[in-house]
């Protein structure tokens, strides 16, 4: 386990699989929107997202993001250990 590549893969796998696991449960960011609707039922967002992926695509974008982040953290750790 010396090469930066294996560290990167390890990081990607670790973070990616945590993100991919179907934990369930409603996210707090969504619940906050629900609370806005409760407090101000008449409020309508005045701008829509630039790009709105389907739920399935969104899930994998999050997995991708976690995996890429994990890979870079792993890679950086390997670089520091070799330094």
């Amino acid at each position: 386990m010396k090469s930066p590549l294996s560290w990167a893969l390890l990081g990607a796998l670790l973070f990616g699989s945590i993100a991919a696991y179907p934990w369930g449960g409603e996210g707090t960011d969504d619940r906050a929107i629900g609370m806005v609707a409760q407090l101000r039922p008449d409020y309508a967002p005045w701008r829509a997202p630039v790009f709105e992926p389907s739920e399935q695509v969104e899930k994998w974008l999050f997995v991708f993001q976690a995996a890429v982040g994990g890979a870079v953290v792993g890679w950086a750790i390997a670089q520091r250990r070799r330094a």
């Binding site: 449960g25 890429v68 870079v72 520091r80």
Partner: protein
Amino acid sequence: MHIAEGFLPFAHAAAWTAAAVPAIADGLRQLNRRVAEDRSQRYLLAAAAAFTFALSALKLPSVAGSSSHPTGVALGTILFGPRIMSVIGTLVLLFQALLLAHGGLTTLGANAFSMAIAGPWMAWAVYKLLARFGTAPSTFVAAFAADLFTYTMTATQLALAFPAADGGFAASVSRFLGVFGVTQLPLAIFEGLLTVFVLRSLQPQTKEALA
């Protein structure tokens, strides 16, 4: 803590953006100076950015069928200070708003203020305050506090925009805190532990670095 696109009224969105911009501009100058001084910092910079990038997208389960995500800002704050971390955090939020429909451009200023400015400054203050207890304990509490403070800030921002009909701002802030509070607590502990672990892993292992 990502307030969704369009979910702050225009005046609020503009005010938070105006509040965030000077801090980010200042951080950008700091960042340029730091990287110009020492190019070996770029691995750490990549790690700090990637850590926030991954953690702020990592939806984790919590109590009572709820889930939320950590923020990961304490690592970069301890490595680079809160001023530089504000740039890193904002870049991550911008990317998420543009490509992942997570957060938004109109709410970027508010989200940057909570996650990339308030969170890191809290992490920094706690880290400095507890430094004499050693790196690991101060890192843990710094990350824990930054996580919770970021969500408290978000609750405050939402409550300012949407005061309750009965009880106004105070009632509203407690309701938004109710949304985040209990869910966030276990995640803040997890974030604290993970930050300690990653920070320790990033320390150079050679005698050259020990010198």
